[in-house]
Symmetry: C2
Subunit: 180 residues, 2 copies
């Protein structure tokens, strides 16, 4: 039953700034051929930044693919050869101005393994010190603070629609509960 | 601050069986132009099937983009004009053989809104009756039952890496806890 799909042909369709698209032809266990449309992504990191008064710092930005302003935790793509923890510190500071003294890896996951290899690493950021945000030139981001319970409600009433943010909030609640 | 990105040009790069890729040129609030690489996806549905003895029915299948066998909840893409709830019933039966008498919508989310419009709808499936699985010809799927607590452990030890499954399990735990 557990047989890998062997690649018999691979064609690069598009090489972009953020993603590449390739189509692989694979051999199935029944020896038939099938195609797999695969989006290559460099991977990303996201941080749940918890302030001293137990607010979680969220960012809101326009997401063109879904034509909406989404409320998310601070996040960003991995630069080439960048360690996830370094990326977490960099993106948190760029998007919110906060530096986290303590970063704890909570979990990592594939966002959509049916068509993409994007992996996302989630960190809990604590012992924050505030500086000034300095987003990339074409990033328009505003930040807002919410309690964990407020965010839990917003997940179930549809106000938070981003998968990494939903996982990060639910996992943070679970993690803090287990510490008690 | 909250200004939409206006599309000034849109180019379809690839139209596939499952996804399309297009590149939009957008105008930013500072009137500069930027490009957005966008993967169009038909949307998908996933079900947390809970049996009478409180096991959750999981499926394991090879995911070519990440070159691994992932443990996931049953799921599938929406057919054209298909209602999410009908899709949930269809995919659950195809992949596991189970029919769910009760389906409860838990939440919906975007899997990776930075580069894709894929939306995923999660349902809790209860009052199951067992039949025979009949997956698509090129699907090789095996199913396994786990308790909610087993699955919670597997999320945090890295045995479950699929975002929809992590969200669905964490959300199911939260939902059942609120019912108590």
């Amino acid at each position: 039953m557990h047989v890998k799909e062997k690649t018999v042909h691979s064609e690069m369709i598009f090489e972009g700034k953020i993603i590449n698209l390739r189509v692989d032809t694979v051999e199935l266990p029944n020896h038939k051929l099938a195609t797999r449309e695969i989006v290559e992504h460099p991977g990303a990191v996201a941080v749940v930044p918890v302030t001293e008064d137990n607010k979680i710092v969220m960012v809101r930005q326009y997401r063109k693919p879904v034509e909406d302003f989404l409320l998310e935790i601070p996040a960003g793509k991995l630069d080439k050869d960048e360690l996830p923890e370094s990326c977490a510190r960099r993106e948190l500071e760029e998007e919110t101005g906060y530096k986290a003294e303590t970063l704890k890896h909570l979990l990592s996951f594939y966002t959509s393994p049916g068509f993409s290899n994007e992996i996302l690493h989630i960190y809990l950021g604590q012992n924050l010190t505030q500086g000034k945000a300095h987003p990339d030139e074409d990033e328009y981001i505003s930040s807002e603070g919410y309690s964990l319970e407020e965010l839990m409600g917003m997940i179930f009433n549809g106000s938070i629609m981003d998968s990494k943010t939903i996982i990060a909030i639910l996992a943070t609640k679970e993690y803090l509960m287990r510490l008690k």
